[in-house]
Amino acid sequence: MIYGATVAALLVIMGLSLVRAFKGPTVYDRMVAANTFGTLTVITLAVYGFMRGRPEFLDIALVYAVINFIGTIAVAKFVKFSHLGHPAGDDHGGDI
C-alpha cells in the first residue's frame, strides 16, 4: 500500500518534470528536467522492485544512475562545445 502510493507520487513528479523538459524555455531547464527524470527513474525502479518483492531491480537502478550521470555530462558538454570530442587532435579516421 505504502509502496503503491510512493510509486504513484513518483509517477506524478516524473510527469511534471517531463512537462518542464518539453516546455522549458532554455536548454538548461531541459537538461535539469531530464536529469531529474533520470533520478526519479532510479527511485521508482528501487521502490517498484521492493513493492513486487524483487530487490534485483536495484541492479537495474544502479545502471540507470550511472548512465544518467554520463548522459547528463555528455549533453552538458555538447551544449557548451557543440562537439563531444571537443579537444580533438589529429584526425585518426576511426579505429577500424
Binding site: E56, D59, V66, F69, I70, G85, P87, A88, D91, G94
Partner: protein, 154 residues
Amino acid sequence: MMVYKSILRVSSKLLIPPILLFALYVQFHGDFGPGGGFQAGVIFASAFILYALIFGIDTARRVVTGWAVRLLLAGGALLYSGVGVAGLVLGGNYLNYSVLADDALVGQHLGIFLVEFGVGSVVAAAMITIFFTFAGYRNSPGESLPEESGPEED
C-alpha cells in the same frame, strides 16, 4: 582537455572504478540476477566513454589503443564461435555446452561463461569504437574548434 573542470574530473575519477567493478559484477553474476554479456559490455564501455568525455578523446585513445580495441572485437567473436566449434568437435551440435566437460552441468557453466565473456568484450569494444569514431570526427581537416573559455567558469 577539460582542464579546469575540477569537479567533473574528481567525481569522474571517483566513479570510473566502481563503474568498471559493477560491469564485472553484471558480467559474472548474470546467471543469477539481471545482466549478462551485452549489458556488462555497455556498462564497461560507458566508463571509458565517461573518461573520454572528461579527459578528451586523444587521452582516451592512449588508454584504449586501436590494437586493443581490434583485439577485443575480433577475440570476442572468435571466443564465441570457438566455443561453438569446440562443441562441434567434441561430438555435440554447434554451441552445445553439455559436451564441453565430463559433467554436463560443469560443461554448461563453462560454455555460458565463455560465450558471455566473448559477447561482453565484443560489445564493450564496439561501443568504445563507435563513440571514439563519432566523437573524434571533424567535419573538415583544417577546421578549428571553438577554444575553451578558460578557468574563470569554474
